[in-house]
Symmetry: C2
Subunit: 219 residues, 2 copies
DNA sequence: CCCCTTGAAATTGGATCCATCTTCTGGGAA
DNA sequence: TTCCCAGAAGATGGATCCAATTTCAAGGGG
């Protein structure tokens, strides 16, 4: 068979750690011990080391030589610039993806948005929000672009969660409204409009997020 | 001592492979055998595996499970979008970096440009051109942004070299002129102008590069 | 003549053991 | 009391051996 029967251990370990980091189970700044992870996930230390490299490539952790790996702690300016990167890159991904979006893609996008509007749990909301945006970029056909966007989402995930906790559930209705505008522009195949709404969506979040100094470690 | 006495083997192997890939010694499409690299660089296979992960994170190679690693072959559209990503990201890096550039940075930038104008060998030219642009971004203070830019340069390096080989040495004078405009704008602390010149610089290269279908594999 | 199967060789992935580096703790001296 | 140094413990980095997967070639059947 041409399909691997069992997933590689390093990929499994990376998947587990990825979920734990994105869900905030592993908080920024805490060291990730190879042996602890190994015995907890039932693997040797070697695939754990490979997994840490994978997660480094995804922008989820940073590795310090002979020290270990941990989820990086970002200051306010860093998060702000990461959001400015999103403002510039994601519209490109959206415009490149839009012409190639098929009927099944649109169904999936609308379905995700309906789930977002119905969901209550914050963890699920964040995962669905992420899945929604990535779905709109999924047809761009450029792996490097999609990977870069994922890295930006990964690096900022912790602060997005902290912000949404602070902002409360009513903040989600802003998100939902802006998502609807994007879907509408995609429906009309209007790239200019889609780009405009997406930039506004990201920029608004950046501004509101940055306005909370208590989310960041720096003075 | 707080400084590591000897560099980690995986870092050394990664450095060697990185140079070989950027210089075109390892061409896109060819498989990179772990054992071959290991004995050639005097290390075990394990640090080679770590090195391949490092290079994957840098956008230089792609790893296929149970298959191996190789420098990816890009089609024309992929290279075009990568350049569009550069057009959007590098101006941000430049604007964020410019206010923090000190006197030593400016000296280094001017020195690099003088070297570029004097150099003859294509390999050195490409390395200096890369160093020049990265130097102008070096004060932005956002690791993630700089890393992303480096990945874009890495991924497109092969096609930049192939293009410059085709275009001939007189093409370099266009580069030098545009570099001078950027330096001038930085001197005046005019972010708008610097951004404008940089976008033009990248866009011109993209257009001329894309105009050579013989550089790409696709139909 | 072509295609499928089968087996061996080559290559990658994983486990265990050892070396090296970092860090923490305890003791001693100013 | 405080600072510094030495030594032990813990963690990461590396080497070797073994298992699983892929690839390629040879042989048989349609």
């Amino acid at each position: 068979m041409t399909q691997p029967t069992t997933e590689a251990a390093s990929v499994r370990v990376a998947a587990s750690l990825r979920t734990e980091i994105l869900d905030g189970v592993i908080e920024p700044g805490t060291w990730i011990r190879q042996e602890e992870v190994a015995e907890r996930l039932g693997a040797s230390r070697l695939p754990v080391r490979e997994a840490l490299r994978i997660l480094t490539a995804e922008g989820l952790i940073t590795v310090e030589p002979n020290r270990g790996a941990r989820v990086p702690v970002l200051d306010r300016r860093e998060v702000e610039v990461l959001y400015r990167m999103r403002e510039r890159l994601e519209p490109l991904a959206l415009v490149e993806s839009m012409p190639n979006l098929g009927a099944v893609d649109f169904d999936r996008i609308r379905d995700l948005q309906q789930q977002i509007e119905a969901i209550d749990d914050l963890r699920d909301f964040l995962a669905l929000d992420r899945a929604f945006h990535l779905a709109t970029y999924s047809a761009c056909g450029i792996d490097h672009l999609q990977d870069t966007v994922v890295r930006l989402w990964n690096a900022t995930q912790h602060y997005r969660r902290a912000f949404m906790e602070l902002a409360g559930p009513q903040r989600r209705w802003v998100v939902n409204a802006e998502h609807s505008l994007i879907i509408d522009a995609l429906d009309r195949q209007d790239g200019q409009d889609a780009e405009r709404y997406l930039v506004g969506h990201i920029r608004r979040t950046r501004r509101e997020l940055i306005a909370h100094p208590e989310l960041f470690s720096d003075a």
